[in-house]
Symmetry: C2
Subunit: 497 residues, 2 copies
Amino acid sequence: MFEAAELGRKLTREDYEQELPALRAGLLEAQRGLERANVPVIVLFSGADGSGKSESVQRLYEWLDARGLETNAFGALSDEERERPPYWRFWRTLPPAGRIGMFLGSWYTEPLVRRAYGALTRAELDREMGRVAFFEQMLVDGGALVFKFWLHLSKKGQRKRLVTLEKSAETAWRVSPLEWKHYKLYARFIKASEQILRSTDTGQAPWFVVEAEDERYRELTIGRTLLEGMRRRLLGKAGTSRPKAPVSAPLPELPSSAEARVTVLDRVDLERQMPEKEYRRRLLRLQAKAHRLVRAASEKKISAVAVFVGWDAAGKGGAIRRLTAPMDPRFYRIISVAAPTDEEKVHHYLWRFWRHLPRAGRVTVYDRSWYGRVLVERVEGFATESEWRRAYLEINEFEDQLADAEVVIAKFWLHISPEEQLRRFEDRKATPYKQHKITDEDWRNRAKWGAYHEAVNEMVVRTSTRRAPWTLVAGNDKRLARIQVLETFTRRLEKAL
Amino acid sequence: MFEAAELGRKLTREDYEQELPALRAGLLEAQRGLERANVPVIVLFSGADGSGKSESVQRLYEWLDARGLETNAFGALSDEERERPPYWRFWRTLPPAGRIGMFLGSWYTEPLVRRAYGALTRAELDREMGRVAFFEQMLVDGGALVFKFWLHLSKKGQRKRLVTLEKSAETAWRVSPLEWKHYKLYARFIKASEQILRSTDTGQAPWFVVEAEDERYRELTIGRTLLEGMRRRLLGKAGTSRPKAPVSAPLPELPSSAEARVTVLDRVDLERQMPEKEYRRRLLRLQAKAHRLVRAASEKKISAVAVFVGWDAAGKGGAIRRLTAPMDPRFYRIISVAAPTDEEKVHHYLWRFWRHLPRAGRVTVYDRSWYGRVLVERVEGFATESEWRRAYLEINEFEDQLADAEVVIAKFWLHISPEEQLRRFEDRKATPYKQHKITDEDWRNRAKWGAYHEAVNEMVVRTSTRRAPWTLVAGNDKRLARIQVLETFTRRLEKAL
């Protein structure tokens, strides 16, 4: 979930300064518009110590009209607060219609810290998040526009930041032993954070995970996300203070320079290759291992699900064949997800995937999957925006149920470059026995590369969890791709055994 | 929550037979309509053993076109089911679009039984219900029409029913030692059931608690509820299989005879009176007790909330004065809920009530309350239907948070008959110093007695919980009413001390 916020995104000063005037003008205009439309705006800042939460708020005070802003931080409970139900302190700070309330810390803070310290069980955190989700739903139903930012630092990044703060006389006070203690608990905080984000990333109050290491990138991303969300609300619902179906906050547009636009997909190294000889050797070894593990899993009644999605001609079929070749056919099943059958069409979109879940000790390989909802259905408009937006949580909940039942989950996105795809398309066209594999639809899909790229990126960002992580497979070299798939699958299976 | 299903509602054979032809014709027509509109219909039957769940399903097989129906019961897990995540068995049984799936037992059954047996904690049940609520939301979002019936029997009624079943050779097999064991755990089942209903009574998939003792009443109520819900869906959304905002299932119309239409309000005995002398004596005693208890609660830091709603001229003011007279003014505060202030208007409707919650050891008396949302705002159309329907869960969640924080909650509905109200109105008109108390609005409200009656009844049914029960005060005799208020309040406070 946080992989996408460790890409080293940054912004040059020039780019930043070039963007700024339009952004600031836009923010002021949107703020005035929402004030007139009587929309309360709630902006939460969460994330690691030192990730720049308060700096971000300060920046927004510069960019927006400060008279319409209010900021809330939650330290130790006051006497007044201690004597009332826990949410009293949050209710009293909610911004009224037409104003923007910024929250440094929020209803997420205490559950997160308590979970990281081990004072809450996983189930208790789930229950707490159920309460949070209901609370936010109520605010959204009441007409509020909710933004939730999670400012992310890598462990290294956090250390660097704390050291920098300590060095300067002006900021040293901000780093206490508590911050270092939290730094030491980094892995536990990340794990708890992921559970929190996963279960509260709703279509109407989604999380925006922002890479926080570069200040300019962080600030501009926050500003742009706010601007886009505010504008969308104004466009869709201008004048209504209580819309029937509130527009959900949108994804941020990324600043324009290459370093700022880098996505998880761009980080896949497509240059690497694997010599034929090494491939043969490793393939044999991995297939032998897969054979052994699948048999052992069958005995131990541990089941597994492997999901394959990817660009057209990225080599899904070949990778699946290499994976299943060593498996006893009684132990696995490949589900090819093409157009739904008549029977599937009249059910919920997840029904067709539930029905094929493997029995204990078996493997189901999904050739395409439930991710169609947030890929092809999103891009082609087969699903409405609210349908695909809420699908992230539906899918996460589905996979969470699999993980609860101890099903091993491996999800593969087979990635290739557009150039490589073109080469393969033309090769297919030119080779008689491959011609059936290339259709007009493939060319049409190719023309929408950009839209698919964005959808894939958001899919990975919102659904890659510790219990069901995405593996981005470098597919330009087919040998490399197949080895990566086998290695990942066997590793995950081995871990579960 | 179940008080409203122990009213002894019944239906004569004639009434039943008179209703039947129109009901059956309507059901068949609605079924065909939903089939054409491709709407999947999910009908859950829950409730006590012997409450007639399977009989009700059988009746629906007579009334509806059986070719469009399917029924699912969930016994012990099959091998197939045991080897997959728990919800697999439910997914596989969901009805396809255009068909009606009836469920004897459901995703509620196991959590209920496990909680009653003590195998789940309260928090674990909450978490499980969070999962259920998400699941149902997903079904509704996917276009399904969901009915949830809870067939209720009083403890005595259940016993009677089990004995009857045992006596007949044909049905004796249905009563095993397990049924008697559950009967012995009646109180625990009811408590767990209430928690379940409270937390899953959403606007879009609401519960219908049906009094199950009289077979004709039970069947006709179920049939009518289904018919009304199906019709509303067809009217609002005919032709769309995936409505953006599904119409929520409506309340049942009650069969027309008096015995079938009786509500919780009708069960309030308005005839009783209290002689002046007895009143004086008890008033003094209760006020002395209230004085003592409020002081003790203050020392123990236990706070309390008293909520007063009722018909115009039902005597709210007088009852509140008698209750607060013995309290030290430092310890309590009366919040008169009139039109919201400017400041309150620009916040969520619950905000104005949260802000006045008492500190530890104090009492807040709300003269009118958050129930305005489901009373005046519902009847006058100030809130949209989806707003007031979802308010039941919002209110229950609010009061649950109070109860979690150990705030004592007393809720009073001051009830009078329409004749008594008229007498008081006319008295006010005729008495110079009372004239200010009667306005045109009072007369307008009076004209909507029926609509308010229905709203009050549903309010009590959906929001009277063990932790925050409603007290229906017999208000025709003011003395009686005041004593009842004082008695209830002191009893609840005493229990918490």
